[in-house]
Structure formats: C-alpha cells, structure tokens
Point group: C2
Chain length 367, copies 2
C-alpha cells in the first residue's frame, strides 16, 4: 500500500451524504492513506483516525453549468479539494458526483500536464474476467488525431500504475479491425499510435477493435473520442442492466423458474461482485498535473474507499510522471504552447503557461 500519500476528498456530491464518504475515507486511512476531507462538517458525527475534515458546506455538484459554478464558488468543497492538491497539501483528489465540476476545477486550478493537449476521462469497466479501461468517456466530444495518440499513452500509464497491468494491450475503437477502417481522425490516429508505440516499454498497440471486443478481453485499454466513448459506456451499463432485469423477470415468471432462481442466487453473487461498478472506484481524470478520480454520486463507502486507495496507488506509481515520460520518449508531447486551437476551458482558467514545469506547487486559484 502507498506510503505517505495524501488524498483530498470532496464529499459534496455523494447521494448518501458526507458521513458515508467519511466512512469510505476511514477504510482508506486504515490502509495507510492520509485523507483531507472537504464537506459539511456538521453532517459528519465522528471523524475517523487518519482523516482531517475541513468544513466546506457549499456543494456545486448539482449545478447545470459546472465551469461557471467552479469559477464563481472558490469556497465550494470541490474547488477547495482541488486547490489543496494545487497547493501541495495533497497529492491527488477524489470528488464524488459531478464529473463536469471535477473536470472544470481540475482544468482551472491544477491545469493540464506539460505538453498534454487535453485531459481525458478514463473508466475501468468491470467485465467478468476481462476488465477494460475505456477513454475518453466524455471530456472531449470532438478530438483530433494527436489527442487520441496522447490518450493511448495516458490510458496505458494508468492501467500500469493504478490497475497493475504490466504491459497493457492498447486498442483503438473503430468500425472494423483493418487500419483503414474508421473516420479520417481514427485512421490517422491508428497510423500515429502504431508508429510511436513501436518499441515502447509502456504498452503494446494491438490495433483497431470493434464494439464487440470491448467486452471480450481483446485489449486492456480502449481509446476513443469522448462522444463515442460516452455512448459506449452508457450502452454497456444499459445492456447489462437490461439483461439482469430480463433474467430476473424470467426467474420469477413461473413457480418452477422461481425455484431455479433461488437455487442460482448464491452462485450469482460472485458474478454481481465481478461487475460491481464500485470496484474500480469511478472515472479517472488523466492529463492534469495531478490525478483526479470521480466516483459515481450513488456509490457507497466501498466505492469511495476504492477511489481513494486507487488514487493513492496512482500517486505512488507516478502515473502523471510516467505518462509524461512515455509521451516525451515517443515524441508525442505538444510541441508549441499555442499550436492547438479551440481549447477555451483551459485558456479561460488562467494564462496558458504550457511551458511551466509539471509541478503543482505553484498555486493557481480559480478566478
């Protein structure tokens, strides 16, 4: 387990309230992670050992315009948690509930890693026997080919340091396996990833995979744009739920089926654990100067503890540094600070000092 790692946790967006998040923090603290918890202190009865609570009753997790909410509310729990990381008081942040707010706070306050075009949201999908990390699942609706190239390196460094996959197999999502299949952007990204991954100790590029292969163990990391990734992610969740519901209906349809369902139930429990979305801890925000994790707002203490523990593992394994190092070796870092256009959220956050060192100790407060 990681030593001397501090994780800043925003308890503002959790459906079950800050006390449940504190209980999750307690589990992580027992395993040696220090936790700085930002939330409504009046709703947390007992503060667990190893956890420091900072009173931050204002939550912006339900705001419709996250970027605006982040800028306008520097005292909110998410902005305070992210600022703790920017200040060096913590090494990574965990924020339950609003991915948009976490993304905006991360961009404005922590900023992109040096040479990174765009941060991406990576979600480890719990598939029985063949877990797969999909990115981007929604941070960038439109991407360029060089964005997808960086996502491949970011996803690989994440799978290696956080999920413990020694040399991840990375694939590109497309409508066919041939390198010529896909949109112009996908075809160009395929060629670029193949070229830059050659001889990479970080990952193996296994080429294009189709939708089917997302759940067949064909790859450890699957790269796509945030539009397709978001549709794919929600489809996996939807179809899984639909199948579980349909089989539940079948298992209560006749007395005979009911008896069968009862006999099956204990064996099904292991399967349900394998596909539990709380296991991987949530969506990971990659490409910032520090790691961020966004558990789903409905998660229990278990999901929050996983998010904190896996964030700490990402810090210990230096996912940010490894991503940067691998991109540098492959020559895939953004060369000129002003080269990439249309990245207004980043620019709006603060002046675009892409050439600044990958070091979060310089405080950047939200305007």
């Amino acid at each position: 387990m990681p030593d001397h790692v501090t994780v800043a946790v925003d308890a503002g967006g959790a459906d079950l309230g800050p006390a449940e998040v504190a209980a999750g923090a307690a589990i992580a603290a027992e395993r040696g992670v220090r936790v700085l918890l930002f939330g409504d202190a009046s709703r947390i009865d007992s503060v667990p050992a190893g956890v420091e609570v900072v009173d931050a009753p204002l939550s912006i997790a339900k705001e419709a315009d996250p970027a605006r909410a982040v800028r306008g509310n520097p005292e909110s729990s998410i902005v305070q948690a992210v600022r703790a990381v920017a200040d060096g008081r913590a090494d990574a942040f965990v924020s339950g509930g609003s991915t948009g707010a976490a993304l905006a706070a991360g961009l404005f306050t922590l900023k992109r890693g040096r040479g990174i075009h765009r941060p991406a949201l990576a979600l480890p999908i719990p598939v029985p026997g063949a877990p797969v990390t999909l990115l981007d699942v929604g941070a960038n609706v439109e991407v360029r080919d060089d964005h997808l190239v960086q996502f491949a390196f970011m996803g690989a460094a994440f799978a290696q340091t956080v999920l413990g996959v020694e040399r991840p197999r990375v694939a590109l999502l497309s409508n066919g396996e041939e390198p010529t299949k896909g949109t112009e952007t996908v075809v160009a990204a395929h060629a670029e990833i193949a070229r830059r991954a050659q001889g990479s100790p970080l990952f193996e590029f296994v080429g294009n995979v189709e939708g089917t292969d997302l759940v067949t163990g064909a790859a450890d990391v699957v790269v796509t744009d945030g539009f397709t990734g978001n549709v794919a992610l929600k489809l996996v969740e939807g179809v899984s739920q639909m199948m579980i519901g349909a089989i539940r209906d079948v298992a209560t349809s006749t007395p005979r089926a009911k008896a069968g369902g009862l006999l099956l139930r204990p064996a099904l429990r292991g399967f349900r654990d394998e596909i539990d979305p709380e296991g991987p801890g949530g969506a990971y925000l990659l490409g910032l100067r520090r790691l961020g994790v966004v558990p789903h707002g409905r998660f229990t203490r278990f999901g929050f503890s996983q998010a904190i523990l896996l964030a700490a593992r990402g810090v210990s394994g230096d996912v940010v540094g490894r991503t940067h190092g691998a991109l540098q070796t492959a020559g895939a870092l953004r060369a000129r600070p002003g080269a990439a256009g249309g990245e207004s959220p980043q620019r709006a956050g603060s002046s675009g000092d892409d050439s600044a060192p990958s070091d979060s100790s310089s405080t950047v407060s939200a305007p």
Copy 2:
C-alpha cells in the same frame, strides 16, 4: 400479407448454403410472396412452389473489396438479384452475408432515391419488450447534419411500414439529453430535425437519447452516424453475449446452481426468442429507389423467411414512397443534384442523375 410482391433473393453468402435460403424462401412463398432466387442451382435439390431459381453460382460475398467485386462481376448472384429489382422483375432484394456487397450493388445498380443524400443501414435490435431500430449502423462513417435529418425520416418510414409502429418516436443518439449536447454535427441535426418534424404525421421527435436509452424503450428509432452506430450495434451484441455466457458459467458452477439452471431453462426459452436476431430479418438498406435487406450470413431458414416477408411488407407499405413524401413535405430533400460533395461511391456507379424520377424501371447496369 402482401399481395403480388416479388422479392429477388441472393443465396450466395449464406453460411448454411443455398438450400437453406431456398427453405426460407419456401416459408415466405407459402405466405404469398413470389421469390426469384439467385444462387448455385446445383446445390438446391427441390425448388419450392412459388420460388423461381436462377442459376448464379458465382458469389462475391467473401471479397475484401465489395465495390470492386460488384463492378467486376455482373454475373454474380448479388448483382443479378439487384439487377432484377432495377429491371422491374422484382420489387425488393434480400442478400445474405455481405453488407458491403449489397450496399455497393444497391448504389451502383438501383441508385439512391431522388433527393436522398446517402443510403443508410437500419438494424431493428431485438430488445425484450422495447425493440428499437438503430440507423446508420455502418454505411456512412462520416456524416453531415442534413444526412442525419434524412436518416430520421427514413428510419421513421421504415418503422411504420415494415415494423408496424403507428407513429414512431424518433431520437438522436448523443452524450446527453440536452439539445446542446453532442458534436457540432449532432447539435445542428437536433435543431433541424426538431424544426422539420414539427406537425409531421410520420413521427414524433423525442430529442436526444444517451447510450443507456437504446435499450430502455425511450424511442422506436435511434439516429446516429455510421461509425457510432456500428460501434453501438456491436457493443449491444457483445454485451448480450457476454452476459449470457457469464450466466451460463454461473449456472454450471456448482451442483446447486446446475439444478437451478435446469429449472430455469424452459422459462429462458421465451427470453431467447425475444432477443433472437433472426426475428427482424437483418439489416435494412434504406434510401435506395427500392428496399434491400441483408440477413446475417449465419441465419437459418427462419431468418431468411423473415427478411423476405418483411421486405415484402416494406414494398406493400411503400416505404420508399413514404420516405420520399415525408421528406418532400418537410422540405428535407436534397435540393441541387451537385450540392453534396465527396460521394464518390455513388458517382462512380453511374452518372449522377439525381433529378431522375424515383422509378427503378430504367435499367442501370454495373460498369
């Protein structure tokens, strides 16, 4: 059941051979559909009543470059079947196995409907209790907003005439329900569909849906580009198979679970029938001057009979005419023949006479 409808069937690409396709044709013929069957006559022992077999032993279903194969092999079973429709000897075509060859043959020989930008592949996904037609599932990897607008009308006319949905609810696939969510193309298409669908007797536009909603009955028709649609379709198939496999594994994991599985089996049969991909008959090629259907190559006689029967229903219900009429009323037909760029497959097929009447009697042979 449809009267006096003739369907041209290409038996070339079927995994189980032309005799299985002929058996499917026999089922359709018993229900009053005339079938012109193109395939290797030496492999069909007995010709069923109502079915005429035309010997066409050459199949191009396994060719890597379908467009080239279609152009170079006018005697192949698929090109002959499509030409029968172009000549007026048949009203629709069914071709098992190669979607690419069917698309190329349809474009070159039948051509696009008048005012249609691009044909699209529509697949009725068999979801228990909430079947949904997804289009495009792969004909157009990149689309413009006005393509998506036409897909909405094409999908609605299809759901109405072929699937019998009185006033289909049509949705646009995106990464969020708000009209502002999605790529620039999706946002523009949303506004256009909303405007043109107002007061349409053909369908109701229910706005954006997310990946989850593809299987929750939120819409009867879901519109997307061919890249996202292809990924989504294969993901639905992949996740369904994965879940069925995982539950089968669970149901054989312990003696107790085995007993439960045996008791459940009869009740599961109905569920399996509901999600049987052979039920809807395959993928439908919309936007040509006549209807085409592509059953999966692995389908049995049941799937082929469904494809033929549903194609005949599309003819009786005039899916092509209804699509054209609805697009005309909505002002969504392609205005100037030369306005849309980059449509080389269509242009390569023959001269671009987009202003010609929507009438397949003018023979256009593949070059």
